[in-house]
């Protein structure tokens, strides 16, 4: 048998992932409809539904990440830069995550100048924000602030919560090679680790005049919780 006749295992994985993702989409839509009906009737099991929704979204983010990494390995990361209103993008990311977060009583605040515009790949950046916001369902207590502004030639988007903060081994600055996300194999076992690794990769692929984008995770901030920061040149 010719080599070319053998399907590459990563191709099989990717195509299976693709199909899985479609099923996840259907599950998600069905669940959304159920939650809608539940709300009308005021069912007591509503909380469980939100947990299901959170997990489904996590699965969905994981599969998007897998597929993107697979594509990045196959060819390269195609970046589609364009000017976008930062406020509109953040607004959109919040709208998607709001039902889930408000079911837990989380108060989301957005601080962004209306005239803030930046060039970036909307889809990739929205993917990162969506994933971080969805994670807040588990981690924050009841507050979350999303803020954006420009500083030293970078667009800085920051998410601060009043949860317990990141465990020490998740604290990172993607500009530092050693000890950062992605460098430990064990680090990649959890979804959050892979998520950070992917976010760093997306940020890094945004370059301008020799400068690269990066992410940082810290503890503290205005609510003394976790702080996630995305910098784009």
């Amino acid at each position: 048998m010719d080599d070319s006749d053998v399907l590459d295992f990563s191709d099989i994985l990717a195509s299976t992932m693709h199909d899985t993702k479609n099923s996840l989409g259907m599950l998600y839509h069905t669940l959304e409809a159920m939650i809608g009906r539940c709300q009308e009737r005021g069912c007591p099991v509503q909380k469980d539904h939100y947990l299901l929704q959170y997990e489904l979204r996590r699965l969905n983010h994981n599969s998007i990440r897998m597929l993107s990494l697979y594509k990045a390995k196959k060819a390269k990361f195609p970046i589609s830069l364009d000017y976008h209103s930062v406020g509109d993008c953040l607004d959109e990311a919040i709208i998607v995550n709001e039902p889930l977060l408000s079911s837990k009583g989380v108060d989301i605040e957005l601080e962004c100048p209306t005239d803030l515009f930046w060039s970036f790949d909307r889809e990739l950046i929205m993917g990162i924000l969506d994933s971080v916001l969805n994670n807040e369902y588990l981690y924050t207590k009841d507050r979350l602030t999303v803020s954006a502004g420009s500083k030293d030639g970078y667009l800085v988007i920051q998410l601060e919560d009043n949860g317990p903060g990141y465990p020490e081994y998740f604290l990172m600055d993607s500009r530092e090679k050693s000890g950062s996300a992605g460098s430990h194999v064990s680090f990649l076992t959890g979804s959050t680790g892979l998520g950070l690794y992917f976010s760093a990769l997306v940020a890094k692929s945004h370059t301008k005049e020799g400068r690269e984008g990066f992410i940082r995770t810290m503890n503290g901030g205005r609510y003394n919780g976790s702080v996630f920061t995305l910098h784009l040149p």
């Binding site: 989409g25 259907m26 195609p78 000017y83 709208i95 998607v96 962004c112 889809e123």
Partner: protein, 556 residues
């Protein structure tokens, strides 16, 4: 929850309630889910379709305000093709919201050229809130940019630039779209220096694919092929899904005298995106030029396959394939291809002309002279049908076949008419001269051409004289007759429009006069959308009528 300050005139969901929505997806579950969301938003009129063909059929029967179309629709047309055909058939206009729905993210999708981009993308799975937010923001954008688009379509380019600048000054709300439009307007005015400076400045702030694309095109138009090559190569390196960049890079290589290189680039592009008809045609043509007949055959066959049931199918795909097959010593297969063509275009007399001509060439190769003559007769007979429109190059081919078959008078008459319709088309005149030279009729041909061009010029000058003398009623009826005689001549139709509009300005508008002006202007646009005097003619037109012309989509 503290929100951004909202635009006070931003549309609300009430605006969407009365919109008619078409949902296109091959999964019934998904269609049901989306219909449920729309119903939840209060939309009453929702219709669905399971593939591109049935969607287009629905659009042909009634108008939809919002179209939610899945990109991957299974074996038939994909979402991009649905969008392009819907535009081609004018099923959708500027105010129609066309959203592309994608399974994962748009990284997987190829990017079409700017004119054929959907209004926005929706990534599965999406929520009701997301759908509402996206629909409203697209609607708001369309309302905000409508005046600029109208101005561009009216070819008031200076005013369009002013409107763009005003919008940019007001705030960055729609800056991306406004900048794009501004660049396109500069390119339309053909002010290369300004266009290049504009795109260069934008690219310096961030390598946006559309700005780099505009820059490369502008460099090509100035004949700076090395620069253009560099720009398009860099663009593909940044984003290998911008398919139009491959087409232009191939064009650059071809212009630089590297058709082999051009072919290699188009091969790569067709591997990424095989469904694009026009690209398969380009690849076929360049492969034929490179004498790579195998690739040429394959490309035209692919073009035929993807063109089936499409608005963009063309008889030339079959006739060129047949000619390539003759070159490749497979004339019999060529005949079969033309048989298929006849079936695919049996109701199109223009195609019959083209197919008959190709057939005669194949028969000649097979040494079947009788059949060859028979085919030519078939072609001629088709030209006598009512309302047949044959491209000029096919008419030239037909004339040549007639002259070779001993019907010189008829052939020359065809040339005369064709030249009179295109008396300012230098390229076509050169081609015609070449044909006559090849037939050893250079002298006779030249005389025929001179006489034909002279006759049109004279016809036009007489009318212009009447206009100058201020005899507008007489000038109008004079040009009416001239335009009736030469409905495809751009200059005559432009002047006919001018005379009748001037007449109306002076002596009052009439419904009949306005309709006439519209017909003439639309003919000018059909023949040459970049016609130099069209913007001026439209300025006069606006003074007498607010009715949109056939190519305007934002004026409903």
């Amino acid at each position: 929850m503290a929100y951004l300050q909202k635009d006070p005139i931003a549309p609300t969901i009430d605006k969407l309630r009365h919109h008619r929505v078409l949902v296109i997806d091959d999964f019934v579950n998904f269609r049901t889910a989306v219909k449920g969301m729309l119903a939840g938003l209060g939309v009453a009129h929702i219709v669905d379709a399971f593939d591109g063909e049935s969607a287009l059929l629905r659009m042909s029967a009634s108008k939809y305000d919002i179209i939610l179309c899945d990109y991957n629709l299974g074996p038939g047309k994909d979402g991009q093709q649905v969008l392009e055909e819907a535009k081609h058939y004018k099923y959708i206009n500027y105010m129609t919201i066309f959203m592309m729905v994608t399974a994962e993210n748009s990284m997987d999708m190829v990017m079409g050229v700017v004119e054929h981009m959907p209004d926005d993308y929706l990534i599965k799975p999406f929520t009701k809130q997301m759908l509402e937010k996206k629909l409203l923001s697209v609607l708001e954008k369309k309302i905000a940019l409508r005046e600029i688009i109208q101005t561009v379509e009216m070819m008031e380019y200076d005013r369009a630039v002013i409107l763009c600048d005003e919008m940019i000054k007001k705030g960055p709300k729609h800056i991306r779209e406004v900048l794009r439009i501004k660049g396109e307007v500069f390119a339309k005015i053909e002010d290369h220096q300004q266009t290049e400076a504009f795109y260069k400045e934008l690219s310096a702030m961030g390598k946006m694919p559309w700005a780099m694309f505009g820059l490369g095109k502008c460099q090509y138009q100035q004949g700076r092929l090395e620069d253009a090559k560099e720009t398009f190569t860099e663009l593909i390196k940044i984003n290998d899904k911008v398919m139009a960049a491959y087409d232009w890079l191939a064009k650059v290589h071809d212009a630089m005298g590297n058709p082999q290189e051009a072919q290699a680039i188009l091969v790569k592009a067709t591997e990424i995106s095989p469904r694009a008809l026009e690209r398969q045609r380009e690849l076929g043509a360049i492969a034929q030029k490179n004498q790579d007949l195998q690739t040429a055959v394959k490309s035209f066959k692919t073009a035929i396959t993807y063109g089936k049931n499409s608005a963009f199918k063309a008889p030339s795909d079959y006739t060129i394939l047949a000619k390539v097959l003759v070159e490749a010593d497979s004339p019999q297969e060529g005949l079969n291809v033309l048989g298929d063509a006849q079936q695919a275009f049996h109701r199109d007399p223009g195609a019959t002309v083209q197919i008959g001509l190709a057939e005669s060439l194949v028969y000649q190769k097979l040494n079947r002279q009788e059949d060859a003559r028979e085919s030519i007769n078939k072609a001629i007979k088709a030209t006598e049908k009512m309302a047949v429109r044959v491209p000029a190059d096919i008419e030239l081919e037909l004339a040549k076949a007639l002259i070779l078959n001993g019907d010189g008078d008829r052939g020359k008459e065809i040339v005369r008419k064709m030249i009179q319709s295109n008396h300012e088309n230098e390229g076509l005149i050169t081609e015609t001269k070449k044909m006559f030279a090849g037939l050893n009729m250079a002298q006779e041909g030249q005389e025929l051409l001179d006489a034909a061009v002279e006759e049109v010029a004279e016809l036009n000058n007489q009318g212009v004289k009447l206009v100058k003398e201020g005899n507008l009623a007489k000038a109008t009826s004079y040009f009416d007759r001239a335009a009736e005689k030469l409905p495809d001549n751009t200059l005559i139709n432009a002047n006919a429009a001018y005379a009748c509009m001037l007449d109306m300005k002076k002596n009052g508008k009439t419904i009949e006069g306005i309709q006439k002006a519209q017909t003439y202007l639309e003919r000018v646009y059909r023949n040459d959308p970049q016609y130099r005097d069209l913007p001026n003619l439209l300025t006069v037109y606006r003074e007498i009528s607010k009715e949109p012309l056939s190519w305007m989509t934002a004026t409903f």
